[in-house]
């Protein structure tokens, strides 16, 4: 009962915030929501399937480009937004079938390679607009109604986040969720208990890609342009930092991690913009924060913020490597 009340309060706060925030704060709020959507997927993949993806930014990009291309070619934006996660998931299934035979650091490098290849292709192909990317993407809307306020995008983003968290919650609580937890500890043991290891891993991979694709779709309508430079390798690392900080395999941890990192980086950006700071201060501070937080949490708080704060420690649940 207490947990339902807490969740209801969180929903109320999330939906109420756009009414009181000013424009620059709303931009942060939208980006935070988008990062949280991707991080929920990363957390699910790392915490439950025990797999590291260093290429989550690739799926984010696939979603963004899919929605952008559809919208620019005259299809309704809603179709673009629906197609974005589907396309990302289909892409994940296609590359996942060969790649998910790999595990541990092999998979991490393979996913990184996929992102680098995609970025390089997007920068060269004509229909993706090359390095300049795609511009003039119309506003999101349904029928004749057009979404033009930042607050509306905030609601859309956080509604999508709510949906993603709800889906993840049900996946975790279900029988497949327990199976995933089992295969994260030992694939051999899981397989001998009758868990279809390969299929489950592929489904989680596709699900996490779909989340990233959905966030990418919203992102392209919100900013109005996409380019290869919007999806650097660092963005994939950033999602890992957020997932690890919040606590792997927890739905709320992803949100907490995304909030903590986004707000921290924003605060430092303000600091770096103060007069007298060198021009490189913003990037240096954000790199340093990502790095120190990541190292500190992995070493001293391996379960992440949320499990450490709520004291529901499940011993021995640290990522098992290959």
């Amino acid at each position: 009962m207490k947990r339902i009340a807490a969740a209801a309060l969180a929903v109320a706060v999330a939906l109420g915030l756009p009414l009181v925030l000013d424009d620059s704060a709303l931009a942060v709020y939208v980006l935070l929501g988008l990062a949280a959507i991707v991080t929920v997927g990363v957390s699910l993949l790392m915490g439950f399937a025990g797999q590291v993806s260093l290429g989550q930014g690739a799926f984010y990009g696939v979603g963004a480009y899919t929605a952008a291309l559809l919208a620019l070619n005259g299809f309704p934006p809603l179709l673009g937004l629906v197609a974005a996660p589907l396309m990302a998931a289909v892409f994940a299934v296609l590359i996942g079938m060969p790649l998910l035979r790999l595990r541990g650091h092999h998979l991490a490098f393979a996913t990184l390679a996929v992102q680098l290849i995609l970025l390089s292709l997007a920068g060269q192909l004509e229909f993706t607009g090359g390095d300049i990317g795609l511009q003039g993407i119309p506003q999101f809307g349904i029928g004749s109604w057009e979404m033009d306020s930042a607050a509306a995008y905030a609601w859309l983003t956080w509604a999508a986040l709510g949906l993603v968290m709800l889906v993840t919650h049900h996946v975790i609580a279900s029988r497949p969720g327990r199976a995933l937890r089992a295969l994260a500890t030992s694939e051999t043991a899981a397989a001998s208990s009758g868990i279809p290891v390969g299929r489950y891993k592929l489904v989680v991979f596709a699900l996490s890609a779909a989340f990233a694709g959905l966030a990418g779709g919203i992102y392209c309508f919100y900013t109005g342009y996409v380019a290869p430079g919007s999806f650097p390798v660092l963005i994939s690392i950033q999602y890992i930092v957020m997932a690890v900080v919040g606590g792997l395999g927890t739905v709320w941890g992803a949100l907490a991690g995304a909030s903590a990192i986004t707000l921290l980086v924003q605060g430092l950006d303000r600091l770096a913009a103060l007069p007298g700071m060198p021009t490189y201060a913003p990037s240096v501070l954000s790199y340093a924060v990502y790095a120190l937080v990541l190292i500190g949490v992995v070493l001293f708080l391996p379960q992440g913020l949320v499990p450490a704060l709520t004291r529901r420690d499940r011993p021995g649940r640290r990522g098992r490597a290959s």
């Binding site: 260093l54 790999l102 680098l116 060269q124 790199y287 790095a291």
Partner: protein
Amino acid sequence: MSAFLTYLLNGLAVGCAIALIASGLVAIHRVTGVVNFAQGTFAVVAGLCTSSLLGLGVPHGVSEAAAVLLAGVAGLLTGLAAIGRPGTTPLSSLIITLGVGVLAYAVEIVLWGDQPRSAPGLAGSVTIAGARIQTQHLLVIAVTAATFVLLALFFGRTYLGKALTACASNPYAARVVGIDTRRMGLLAFALGGLLGGLAGVLITPLRPISFDTDVTLIVNAFAAAVFGALTRPVVALGGALLLGVAETMAAGYGYGSHQLEVALGLMLVVMIVQASRRSAIHEEAV
């Protein structure tokens, strides 16, 4: 024909630099089981450091040696972060080295700015069978060959090298006979730092280095190292030479814009083929 020979030798030089980074990756992975994502960073640190020292008027030789030593220290520090705390799993260690790489970005931008930097190397060129080769390329090949011979002697003939090999083949048995596996792991990290630094010092005169060059370097080195399943340095050397030649040929004959895709695609295929030959039981038992 002479163009072909030029591309071949240039490619071998590029491959040698990749091989040095890859051998550091292999040395660390063999001993600790950790894939060091910050391996490319060592090369970048050493490269940037040489360019600064040479700019300050420090003579050749001294600045290169100092840069390589600095990279070795960076390797040791990375090792302390990655495996210094008992009970860190290899995958957690990978994530820590990822963090170290990003932290190095911050340090590098503060010290050297975010623009690519170069350093003067060996000037001049020689003509072999009608092909003009920069002397620096030959130097890279010679130094790499010497380094691999020294590494082979170190691992095969010295007590310390044998202790490292013992940790690589069976950490438990190594502990039983009194080898401090953690110290050996740190030593491997320092060695990895030196090897990465050597590569950085050698390639900075050939192509400008900036703080984010490390992603290209580490991905190429990892691609080379997977040829030898991350454990066999000589196979990694072969893989690195193949990659270097393939990339340089692709660039030389006009497919330059696709050389990254070629290297990465090759790496993915090799990994998938290797994975299909290995069973999960074997991997989880290691």
